[in-house]
């Protein structure tokens, strides 16, 4: 009995050592195999920022006609189905909003100046610093990109639960109740469409920033929109913010929007 237990322990010990050894040898082999020189890189022209933000100068955007080319530019490059007739099915990334809807708390001021209260406001996703939509998403389909603060959507992961739409205080998100494909006016090849059952919203043109271009709305705005890094004190956007008094939508909620309005 004694000797057989001893034998057993010896064999068990030896095989454990052999097993560990084999494991590490296999691992070494595997890592050698993976040491191929495949590399994933950021494009050389990509624009970088710690926290992208936007300033909308409403003094330069006084009529719906001023807003239209900006909205159209976005709709066109992002394959947004603008031919949907049912208002409830509408898909909006950037759109025109009335003062009392864009700024409900401020519009409590009954005697506010007519110029501002009658203005058409350009509204879009605010790319909040504390995005409630990201907290609501059960699949992390919507997330805040750590590198530059853009609140993004991974359409592959969206299960269409619409918690994010309920969570967003700005109505910046739209749900595809129908297959959007037949309702797109000009199909742009550079951007995918979406499918029925996913939520979508503005992505601050992350795909354009990656190749060194400004967002489409900024490009179409003829200087009325300023886009830049909020964390860089020498950036143009910070200069504009310093020189002009700006307001943000529903600031009292603490979401810290990154879209500012000069009124």
């Amino acid at each position: 009995m004694e000797s057989s237990r001893r034998k057993f322990l010896k064999i068990a010990g030896a095989s454990a050592v052999a097993g560990l050894g084999a494991h590490s040898i296999l691992n070494a082999l595997a890592s050698e195999e993976q040491a191929e020189t495949v590399e994933i890189k950021i494009g050389p022209k990509a624009l970088h920022a710690k926290n992208w933000g936007m300033v909308i100068d409403t003094r330069k955007l006084t009529t719906s006609a001023d807003l239209k080319p900006i909205i159209d530019a976005c709709n066109k490059i992002h394959n947004i189905p603008i031919k949907l007739e049912n208002k409830n099915h509408e898909i909006k990334w950037i759109w025109e909003e009335k003062y009392q809807h864009a700024f409900p708390v401020l519009s409590g001021n009954k005697y506010a100046n007519d110029r501002v209260t009658k203005l058409p406001f350009l509204v879009l996703c605010n790319h909040c610093e504390n995005p409630p939509c990201v907290r609501a998403c059960p699949t992390q389909a919507t997330f805040k990109r750590k590198s530059d603060g853009i609140v993004m959507m991974d359409f592959h992961r969206c299960i269409g639960c619409r918690f994010c739409m309920a969570a967003c205080p700005y109505g910046s998100r739209s749900f595809n109740f129908r297959d959007p494909r037949p309702f797109i006016e000009h199909e742009s090849k550079d951007f995918p469409t979406r499918m029925k059952g996913v939520v979508e919203k503005c992505n601050f043109c992350a795909e354009r920033l990656a190749v060194g271009k400004q967002p489409a709305c900024v490009e179409a705005s003829k200087g009325a929109l300023v886009f830049g890094d909020l964390r860089d004190p020498d950036s143009k956007i910070r200069k504009v913010l310093k020189e002009n008094y700006t307001i943000r939508r529903k600031q009292e909620l603490g979401t810290e929007p990154a879209v500012y309005y000069i009124v």
């Binding site: 495949v38 994933i40 890189k41 991974d154 979406r194």
Partner: protein, 129 residues
């Protein structure tokens, strides 16, 4: 055991139904599909990675591309030869393999794989529908 006859008949019918696909298709092997390469793809000789790798691992490569581009941001893929590619299904893969029906679908149909890429990604970037 008075129902022996019924039970055995039932079993025979059950086995016959379950094995139906096997004996129905027996000896009628479908030829392995040969995806057709476009002239551009033939001229390039090598895909993003070696052909053998692409044949077996293209789905994993595309999965990495998808997650990297959508969630992290980098969009350039440098292969072992130092050649750089834009990690994009529509603008890189389909630029060469512009014949989705004769290339992608052939094997996918044979293997009964049904990827949902084309619900959103534009199938044929060159030919506008």
């Amino acid at each position: 055991m008075n129902d022996k006859g019924k039970i055995v008949t039932g079993l025979i019918i059950f086995v016959a139904i379950v094995t139906f696909p096997f004996w129905y298709n027996h000896g009628r092997a479908v030829a392995t599909p040969e995806p057709i390469l476009t002239p551009e793809a033939k001229a390039a000789k090598q895909c993003v990675r070696p052909i053998e790798f692409m044949k077996t691992e293209h789905m994993l490569l595309l999965d990495v591309w998808r997650d990297t581009v959508v969630r992290d941001g980098p969009r350039i893929y440098k292969n072992e030869e130092g050649k750089e590619f834009n990690m994009s299904l529509s603008s890189t893969c389909l630029e060469c393999h512009s014949n989705k029906v004769d290339f992608c679908d052939k094997c996918h149909n044979y293997a009964s794989a049904d990827p949902y890429c084309w619900d959103c990604h534009i199938e044929n970037p060159k030919e506008k529908k």
